[in-house]
Structure formats: structure tokens, C-alpha cells
């Protein structure tokens, strides 16, 4: 490396730091407030507000000559509440569908904003690029002196909204929580859910506007919604959700900057993309709500149900052949058919053999092992108990009892079986006249 370029890097080392700091300080409050938007199913109101505050910003710029600053944020908060109110007024009093009324309000306000921008931009240094994409790359070129350091000017208002968000969330945690999950209950408890709604909208508008100069009007939606939705996939607890969302926000701010710097492209856009990538990963890999976890769960359940169907069939065959342990078993094709054919059926049979619940003889016939017979007896018991229960406690005709029983037999454990048995007058015979096998426990200790 040349000596002069090293010197250049050293001279500029603060710039990326400040860009990352601005990204993080802007992304965290967005993500925290976004959690409540996502939970209250109002993500699009965030979208609408971030578009609708545009005319307010341009007007504020016209009067004060700058895009950030606390008066601008306060003005935008008012406009945010106004957007939310207008949308609701159109919906309730104008009888316009909710999504359409939102669309009408925010596109109209945005169009007005673009025209204002176009007019003002001619006279002042304010262009569409800055408002639409943000200028996070250049934050360190416009600084103010504070505490003896040159701090990017945007950071001042961002720090203000950051602090305001933290105070808001901590102070009203309980109220926000209950209003998010059950607005009616919250109002009946004396916490005005409507008021909480407008407070939240005001905060969202404030944070949106503060983030405007950094990430632009459209990408701020990515900062609001994507981390919160990612966190929603990862946890069921609000506190954890807020923390996860903040973590996702920080990761997207940092990696977004690094990637954009490496590829020489837009930092704000890259922040949105990295947030989106994290969301995509969560969609597939989230421990409980992820697609992979759900697929795995469904697959295991299908295997269990199919292998249990085979066990129950073998048990019934033994019953009808009448000689208990020395049964001749059933040929493989019959078992495959009971397991519903296909790849899963073959896997179910393999699973039975692996768990030593069934064994196959050289002539290809399947037989129950001792432990398999135990499980099969419990299944058949569950099946016939349920048939007896239905016949005693419902109006289903006798030829309609088998279907529901063969579905529920897989989910009736010993406790439920005992409860069902207790509610029956006759526990040794099902409505078809077949014996209900006794519980395994009594069988094991004669």
C-alpha cells in the first residue's frame, strides 16, 4: 500500500464509524416501535405515515432552512397523528375500505410533498434523492461541535428520538403491552387504547422523520417493520421480541454499511436488504415458527400416525387370528397399504423395525414385538374407548363412529383414556361388540 493512501485512510477513519453510529441510532428506535406496529397489525400505517410526512418536512425546510431538528420532529408527529386520523375518518365516516382509505391519504399527501419539494428544491439545496434514499453516506460531512467532538448534525435529532423512544417504551410498557394485545380489555381496565394508538402514531412519525435524512422515506419502512417481523418469528414474548428486533436492527445497520462500502452502492438500500435477508433466514430457520421447524414437526407427526396405523392393523389381525403371541403376522403390501402407500409408508415401516415394535420374517411378513404389542393395545383401546364414548354421548349413528375414532386414537394418552373410561357405563366392549383391550399397566402386573 502506498504511504499516502494509508494517511488518507487514517484521516478518514472517523467517517465509517459515524455512518455506522448513525445507522444504529436510527435503526433501534424504529425497530422497537415497529414491534408494536406489527403486533397491532398496523404495519401499513407506518408505511403511510412515512410517506405522508413528506409535505410537512418540505414546509419545515421552507421555514427553518433545515431538514432535521426538534421543531421539525414535533411538527411531523402532529402530521403523523393527522394521517392516522384522516385514514380512520375516511374509513368510518366515508365508508371507504380501510386499505383504500389509507392509500388515498398517503398517496395524496406524498404527491403534494413531491410538488412542494419540486418547487422548493429549485430555490434551495434540497433534492428528491436526499428525501427518498437518505444520505447516510455523507453524514460526517455536516457536523456540529458538541462535547468537544465533531458530531454529525443528524445524530443530534436521532439521539433525541432514540431517548424519547426509550423513555416512551419504558414508561408506558405495561400500557403498550395490554393495548397491543387486547385493546378492548385495555379500555375496559381504564387504559385508553385509542389514546395509546395516537401516542404510538406520534412516536412513529417522530422517529420516521428523524430517520428520513439518514435512510430516506421509503427505506425507513424496512427499519420499522422488518426487524420487528423477524423478532416476531423468533419469540412469543414481547420483551424478548423488542430485544431481538433491536439486535436485528443493529446487525443490519453494521453489515449493511460494510457490504455497501465493499460494493460501492447505497448504504440505506443495503441496510434494508440485510434486514430482509435476516427475515428470510428467520422464516425458514426460526425454532418454533420457522418453515423448517414446521415441516419437521409435520413429517414426524405423519410418520408417527402412519406407523401407529400399521401397529393397530397388526394388533387387529392378531385378534382375529386368535392366537396372541404366535401370530402369523401380515404380508408387507398390506402393511404398506395401512401406512398410506408411498415413500412415507416405507419410512414408517422402517421406523417400526428400528424401534423394535415390529419385525419382519424372511418370508416378508410383519409381526408385532412385545413392546409393539403394548403400544398397539393402547391405540386400539383409545380407538374403541372413543367409539364407545361417541356412541354414549353423541348422536352419531353407529357406522359413523370409526372415522373420528381412527383420527383421534393417535392423540389420546393414558390420562385421557382413564377419563373417558370413567365417563362410560360399559368399558369392556365397544359399540360394534369388539372387546376394549384393558390398560397396559394392569396387563403387565397380573
Amino acid at each position: 500500500m502506498h504511504g499516502e493512501s494509508i494517511a488518507l485512510v487514517l484521516a478518514n477513519w472517523r467517517m465509517p464509524i459515524w455512518t455506522i453510529v448513525v445507522g444504529v441510532v436510527c435503526a433501534i428506535p424504529c425497530a422497537v416501535l415497529g414491534c408494536f406496529l406489527v403486533l397491532r397489525r398496523m404495519s401499513l400505517l407506518g408505511d403511510a405515515i412515512s410517506h405522508a410526512v413528506l409535505p410537512g418536512i418540505v414546509l419545515a425546510f421552507l421555514f427553518s432552512g433545515q431538514l432535521s431538528g426538534i421543531p421539525v420532529i414535533v411538527g411531523a408527529m402532529a402530521l403523523g397523528v393527522l394521517t392516522s386520523m384522516l385514514t380512520e375518518a375516511l374509513h368510518h365516516h366515508g365508508k371507504v375500505a380501510e386499505d383504500a382509505s389509507m392509500g388515498v391519504v398517503f398517496t395524496s399527501l406524498f404527491a403534494a410533498g413531491v410538488i412542494l419539494l419540486n418547487q422548493v428544491g429549485r430555490r434551495a439545496h434540497l433534492d428528491a434523492d436526499c428525501v427518498l434514499y437518505g444520505l447516510i453516506e455523507f453524514v460526517s460531512e455536516d457536523t456540529v461541535d458538541m462535547l468537544g467532538m465533531a458530531i454529525p448534525r443528524v445524530l443530534v435529532s436521532l439521539a433525541f428520538t432514540f431517548a424519547a423512544t426509550v423513555v416512551f417504551t419504558v414508561a408506558l410498557w405495561k400500557e403498550l403491552k395490554i393495548a397491543s394485545f387486547d385493546p378492548t380489555h385495555s379500555t375496559s381496565m381504564g387504559i385508553n387504547a385509542g389514546l395509546m394508538h395516537y401516542l404510538l402514531m406520534a412516536m412513529v412519525a417522530g422517529v420516521t422523520v428523524a430517520s428520513f435524512e439518514a435512510v430516506g422515506s421509503i427505506l425507513v419502512i424496512a427499519m420499522l417493520i422488518v426487524p420487528a417481523a423477524t423478532a416476531h418469528l423468533l419469540t412469543d414474548r414481547l420483551f424478548a421480541m423488542v430485544l431481538y428486533a433491536a439486535a436485528v436492527a443493529v446487525i443490519s445497520a453494521v453489515t449493511g454499511y460494510l457490504l455497501a462500502d465493499a460494493l460501492n452502492t447505497s448504504v440505506a438500500g443495503m441496510m434494508a436488504v440485510t434486514a430482509g435477508a435476516q427475515f428470510g433466514a428467520a422464516v425458514f430457520l426460526a425454532p418454533r415458527h420457522g418453515v423448517a421447524a414446521k415441516l419437521r414437526h409435520n413429517l414426524l407427526l405423519a410418520l408417527r400416525v402412519r406407523s401407529e396405523d400399521v401397529l393397530a392393523l397388526l394388533f387387529r389381525a392378531e385378534e382375529s387370528q386368535g392366537n396372541g403371541g404366535t401370530s402369523m403376522g401380515l404380508p408387507r403390501p398390506l402393511c404398506i397399504k395401512a401406512a398410506g402407500e408411498g415413500l412415507l409408508a416405507a419410512a414408517a415401516l422402517r421406523r417400526l423395525k428400528r424401534k423394535r415394535e415390529a419385525e419382519s420374517s424372511p418370508d416378508g411378513r410383519f409381526r408385532l414385538t412385545e413392546s409393539g404389542r403394548e403400544r398397539a393395545r393402547s391405540l386400539v383401546r383409545a380407538h374403541r374407548l372413543w367409539e364407545a364414548y361417541l356412541s354414549e354421548h353423541s348422536v352419531l349413528p353407529i357406522d359413523h363412529l370409526h372415522e373420528p375414532a381412527s383420527r383421534i386414537e393417535h392423540f389420546l394418552g393414558p390420562d385421557l383414556q382413564r377419563e373417558i373410561a370413567n365417563s362410560l357405563t360399559q368399558t369392556d366392549q365397544d359399540p360394534h361388540g369388539k372387546p376394549i383391550p384393558p390398560t397396559a399397566l394392569r396387563d403387565q402386573n397380573p
Binding site: R41, H51, V104, S266, A272, V291
Partner: protein
């Protein structure tokens, strides 16, 4: 005498407004108006990718790219809704912002890495350049409008059924998913065709405003379709003419604000469903109540 260029733009904008009004009726009645917005934002990366692949600005290829990524975005919204706990509103927001972010990343890459990247003018798709319309653009818009009109006329009965009672349509054995898909493709084509002139952010307004206005005037789908088409036509025409007269004003936003004016007028003055008409009905009802016409007093 109108100049040739102005005439082209006028024809293009009013045709675009008309077809967006018609297709927007389907979107608004099916409660999909914001999906159109998401689609427009999601089209941006496809537009840029097509440019990267071809290395030059080719309108049909770029629109095809936009259509593909827009439809992909809508498919992701549907998949998120179907297979995860993410609700529709969040899904729309996520697709909209992440795709748009990817679009910005790509367009900045093109600007910084391609020799003639700045000529691509990808930024113009975000706010649109109505005044830059040329004859071939108008041909595209006209073609798309014609095809949409044909599809709506041919499938009128089926679309009506799906718009008003999905469950009934399903029970009757109509292919609801295919019809929904057809509607989505119509919306997608309209949005993509409109992108170059109205831009990503405001195309949703062209879909929503005429049909939401038409809704105030009628309770019948056929009248609403015709009215929304007419409103869209007028809005496109008047908006463009206005911005041509005062050449300082950008056409896209002016068209949208014209639509807003039509909407506000409809909301206030439409017979029966308008605000004043409903206030009058309420007043009459109160008066008749006070006069004891409904309740007998002994």
C-alpha cells in the same frame, strides 16, 4: 393547436388513467389496493436486473423484468401469509421495503459500475417522467389497456362473483385461485406499464383514487367499472394538461392530486353515499322520528 409531443403525452396519460381506473376497481373491491403499491415497489429490482443483463435500456425487457419481480413480490406476500405467522400488513410492508431497498442497491451499482450507467435513468422510474412519453410508450399503454378491457369483459361474470362473495364462488365450483391470479396479473401489468410515467410511489394512487371515487356514486359493478374508467381518463387528461400548461409542475403528482380532488368531490357530493347526502338522510330520519311517524305515542 397542441404540439405533437403534448398530444402524445395527453393520449398516453389518459389511456393509462382509464385502464388503471378499471383495473383498480377490481383491486379496491377485492381489498387489494395496497398490494398494487407493494407490486410497484417490488418491480424496481427486476427493472434494474433486466438492465444489468442486457447492458442497455430496452423498454420491453425492462418491463418484463419489472413484471417478474413484481409478481414474485406478490407471491412472497401470499406465501408469508399462508405458511408463517406474519400477517398480511407486515408481509406487504416487508416485501415493499426490502425489494425497494434491493432496487436502490442495484440502481446505485449500475450508476457506479457501468460506463453509461447514468444514462439508464433508473431514478426516473421512482417518481416517473410523464412528459418523457413517446409514441411507442403510448402504443404499449394502449395495448395493455385493450387487453385488460377484453379480459374484464370476457370474465365479467366470474370476476363479479369472486369480488362479492369468494366463499360462494368456491362452493359453486369456480376456480377462485385462478381468477384471483388473473386479477393479480391484470393489476401487475397495469402497474408495470404505468411505472415509467407515474413512478413507483404514485402508481398506487392511480389504481385507488378513480375506483374509490366511483364507489360513492353507484352500487353496481358495471356502472362502477365504467365510472372508474371515465374518472381515470379525465384525471389523466386534466392532470397532464394542467402540468403542461404550468410546465414547472411535475405531471405524476399533479395527476394524483387531480384524482384526490375528484375523490374529495365524490365523497362530499355524491348522491346517497356522499357525506352531504348521508347527513341529509340522517336529518330527515331524525325529523320523522321527532314527528312521531315511526313510533306511535299514546
Amino acid at each position: 393547436m397542441i404540439e405533437y409531443n403534448t398530444a402524445i403525452v395527453l393520449v398516453g396519460a389518459s389511456l393509462l388513467g382509464a385502464s388503471a381506473g378499471m383495473i383498480g376497481t377490481l383491486a379496491v373491491l377485492r381489498r387489494r389496493s395496497l398490494v398494487g403499491d407493494a407490486l410497484a415497489h417490488a418491480a424496481l429490482p427486476g427493472l434494474c436486473l433486466a438492465f444489468v443483463v442486457l447492458g442497455e435500456k430496452s423498454m420491453p425487457a425492462m418491463l418484463l423484468g419489472a413484471l417478474c419481480s413484481g409478481v414474485l413480490g406478490v407471491a412472497i406476500i401470499a406465501a408469508l401469509r399462508r405458511w408463517t405467522r406474519i400477517k398480511e400488513d407486515a408481509a406487504i410492508g416487508i416485501v415493499l421495503s426490502v425489494f425497494f431497498g434491493a432496487g436502490i442497491v442495484l440502481s446505485r451499482l449500475i450508476q457506479n459500475h457501468f460506463v453509461d450507467g447514468s444514462k439508464a435513468g433508473l431514478d426516473s422510474y421512482i417518481l416517473g417522467t410523464t412528459a418523457g412519453m413517446i409514441a411507442s410508450d403510448v402504443a404499449w399503454i394502449g395495448g395493455a389497456a385493450l387487453v385488460s378491457l377484453l379480459v374484464v369483459v370476457v370474465f365479467y361474470k366470474e370476476l363479479k362473483l369472486v369480488l362479492f362473495d369468494v366463499s360462494f364462488a368456491k362452493i359453486q365450483g369456480w376456480p377462485v385461485v385462478a381468477l384471483d391470479l388473473l386479477m393479480m396479473v391484470l393489476i401487475a401489468v397495469t402497474v408495470v406499464i404505468g411505472l415509467p410515467s407515474v413512478g413507483v410511489v404514485l402508481i398506487a394512487a392511480l389504481l385507488i383514487l378513480p375506483s374509490a371515487s366511483a364507489r360513492f356514486w353507484t352500487e353496481r359493478l358495471d356502472y362502477m367499472l365504467i365510472l372508474a374508467t371515465a374518472f381515470g381518463f379525465v384525471v389523466g387528461l386534466v392532470g397532464t394538461a394542467f402540468s403542461a400548461r404550468f410546465s414547472l409542475l411535475p405531471a405524476g403528482p399533479i395527476i394524483v392530486l387531480t384524482g384526490t380532488v375528484v375523490f374529495l368531490f365524490s365523497m362530499l357530493f355524491a348522491p346517497r353515499r356522499g357525506a352531504f347526502a348521508r347527513m341529509a338522510t340522517l336529518a330527515r330520519f331524525r325529523k320523522s322520528l321527532a314527528a312521531g311517524e315511526l313510533i306511535e305515542f299514546d
